[in-house]
Amino acid sequence: MYFGFTEEQLAFGSLARKVATDISSASDSEGERFEVGSDALKVLGETGLHGLLIPEDQGGSGATLIEGAMFAEELGRALAPASVASSALICPTALPLIRDVSTRNDVAKAIARGEFCSVVVGSDLTWPPRGEGFAWGWQPGAIVLEADPEGLRPTRETEFAAILTQDLTLRIAPIGPLTTSTEHLVDSEVGKHFQAAVNVIASCLLLGCMRATLELAVAYANEREQFGAKIGTFQAIKHICADMLVDVESSHSIAYGAAALLTHSSEPLTAVRSAAIAKSWCGDAAVRVCESAIQVYGGIGFTWECPVHRYLRSALTLRSSFMNTTQSMDYLTKLDQWI
């Protein structure tokens, strides 16, 4: 047993951080980052990270979900457009739900080439979708994976009137009422695995949000002076920051622990359970961490200019996306798996 990164993984982590930061700054349009701009597309294309989770024989790099989780953390930290996580991380893990093998391979190759891809969720952002369908993390030109009675089916409509969410990195596209029931999308083995993989990826996006927010709060506490001293000298501030660290480090442990279990474990139920736990824990922790950071900043934390609200917006939408906290609890109860 070893619960740490290998040398190769650490090197990959630094690359992922650089790529995520570059994509983010190249996509920034007055602080809004719904869309990956052409400059950022170039960055992504050069590094091949779009095909990170696509098998090598389909033009990708065939990495494991652990590297996927590391890339997600960096995307979350950099507040990168959600369409990147959607295309490079979430959709590749959804591909086994496309029944027809040649269609599946075509989508895989398209993603590895750098095309964008988006999967359908419900109007409450959760998976499996119910009622109206929305393409999560959509951007113009993206392939949309829609639900059909067989599983998932790629479509290529581009005429969506996309909806902006409160998350400044996430856009969803309405694709109309669902014409099929979707329970079969989660009952099968591949369905369970996709749900767990999305939980891990979302958990790591949330983890990145938290790490960035904690760093901001600590930097501010080290700089801002009141009563003739840096506010970081006061225990009232120290204890808020320490509790944030507990949230961040515990989230790291459960998110990567679930990623490792899903990658290597011989007990799939334990892995699926840990992934659902990761999603609920990281979702609640991230919102708490962002709220705490606003408190540390004081009045500045309530301004649009202070970056913390951007993380809070992402944390809240990610917490609600795919499997929200209440759904995680019900899922765990139904799983009836207590190690």
């Binding site: 070893y2 000298t233 507990v246 736990i277 109860t333």
Partner: protein, 379 residues
């Protein structure tokens, strides 16, 4: 990153599991403290004879030369059967391994391992709790003690777990001046049968007497019982407190897991398990235990690369959060049932959980440690 057992770890686990299934004591744990203690000691000695103590100690002092993960596997497997663990000795040993002389290791470590000698730890004092460096128990040099001289110890220790059963006490004493703070502190081993020692058990909010006040009055201690150099006691204390975390935390995880199972069972027997809100609440507290389990595995894994440091305070705070959350849930779910007809002993466990944010360094101190030493906030 792979959380599965390596082939060696799997072999170790399989051998241990087979031995435990054949040898572990079954049946209810005695409620009488003296009987309980006797049972723990007997069980510890069985573990020792079978070679399951001192797993991560060096071979030359009677250990097995294995790592922290084997220690964790031992705790997991012992708890899996719902058996009590043996005596907790690891934290005293770790600092002894770093600071004690060859003679001291030869004299004390075998008894610690076999459970033939019991230890207690004399750190806190009435006026030195969180501010441990202000401790006042005085060690005055006295050349007439032993063959090469020694010290006379005078002062009071408190919260000393198991002092009433202890043969030996690892005690922090002041050899320098009060103004020297942590630089004037030394660590000594005190024979608890020495003259001038009075032990008064303290009754806790649960009504039991887990720990004691210990009074020393001119208690003689020979020079050779000094651990490390005079003035090095503070380093000793830091190492001990750091290593109080770790493998032992895995034991807490197992304890909490069995509490969650007990919670579900009792909710069912009280007719609450069809209630969706109750089910969610039980699932919610169970998530905390899984997070703690993976976090502790990660911390132990990190010890393969580097000695534990200030980040252990995350483990401590997380553990306390999980425990208090779990017992809050139990008290909420069972309402007056936990106060009137407490078959599940929830009230006693609930009261005990209040100590989780106090013992081994209070939550406030842990937060200061994290803020200053991990996050780099100014002192």
């Amino acid at each position: 990153m792979d959380l599965n057992d390596s082939p060696e770890e799997a072999r170790f686990r399989a051998g241990l599991r087979a031995w435990l299934e054949a040898n572990a004591p079954r049946g209810a744990i005695a409620s009488d403290p003296a009987e309980q203690r006797a049972a723990i000691v007997a069980w510890h000695r069985m573990l020792n004879e079978a070679g399951y103590t001192g797993l991560s100690w060096p071979i030359e002092v009677g250990g097995k030369g294995l790592g922290p993960l084997e220690e964790a596997i031992l705790v997991q497997e012992v708890e899996r059967l719902g058996v009590t663990s043996g005596l907790n000795y690891g934290f005293i040993a770790r600092a002894m391994l770093l600071f004690a002389t060859q003679e001291q290791r030869r004299r004390y470590l075998p008894g610690l391992l076999s459970g033939s000698e019991f230890w207690c730890q004399g750190f806190s004092e009435p006026d030195a709790g969180s501010d441990l460096a202000s401790l006042r128990t005085r060690a005055t040099p006295d050349p007439t003690i032993g063959e090469t001289g020694g010290y006379r110890i005078t002062g009071q220790k408190t919260w000393t777990s198991g002092a009433q059963f202890a043969d030996l006490c690892l005690c922090l004493v002041r050899t320098g001046e009060i103004e020297d703070r942590h630089r004037g502190i030394s660590a000594v081993i005190i024979d608890m049968r020495s003259p001038g020692i009075e032990i008064r058990p303290i009754r806790t909010i649960r009504g039991d007497t887990e720990f004691c006040e210990v009074f020393f009055e001119d208690t003689p201690v020979p020079c050779e019982n000094l651990v490390g150099q005079p003035g090095e006691g503070w380093n000793y204390a830091l190492v001990t407190l750091t290593y109080e975390r770790g493998p032992a935390d895995i034991g807490f995880v197992s304890k909490y897991l069995s509490m969650v199972k007990r919670l579900r069972k009792e909710a069912a027997s009280r007719g609450l398990s069809e209630d969706a809100a109750v089910q969610r609440e039980i699932s919610r507290v169970a998530t905390g235990v899984e997070v703690l389990r993976l976090h502790v595995l990660r911390s132990l894994s990190m010890r393969l690369k580097q000695a534990p440091g200030a980040e252990g305070s995350v483990d401590k705070l997380l553990m306390a959060r999980v425990e208090q959350d779990l017992l809050h849930a139990a008290m909420d779910l069972f309402g007056a049932g936990a106060l009137v007809d407490d078959q599940g002993h929830w009230f006693s466990d609930y009261l005990y959980s209040r100590a989780a944010t106090i013992y081994g360094g209070s939550a406030q101190i842990q937060r200061n440690v994290l803020a200053e030493r991990c996050l780099g906030l100014p002192r």
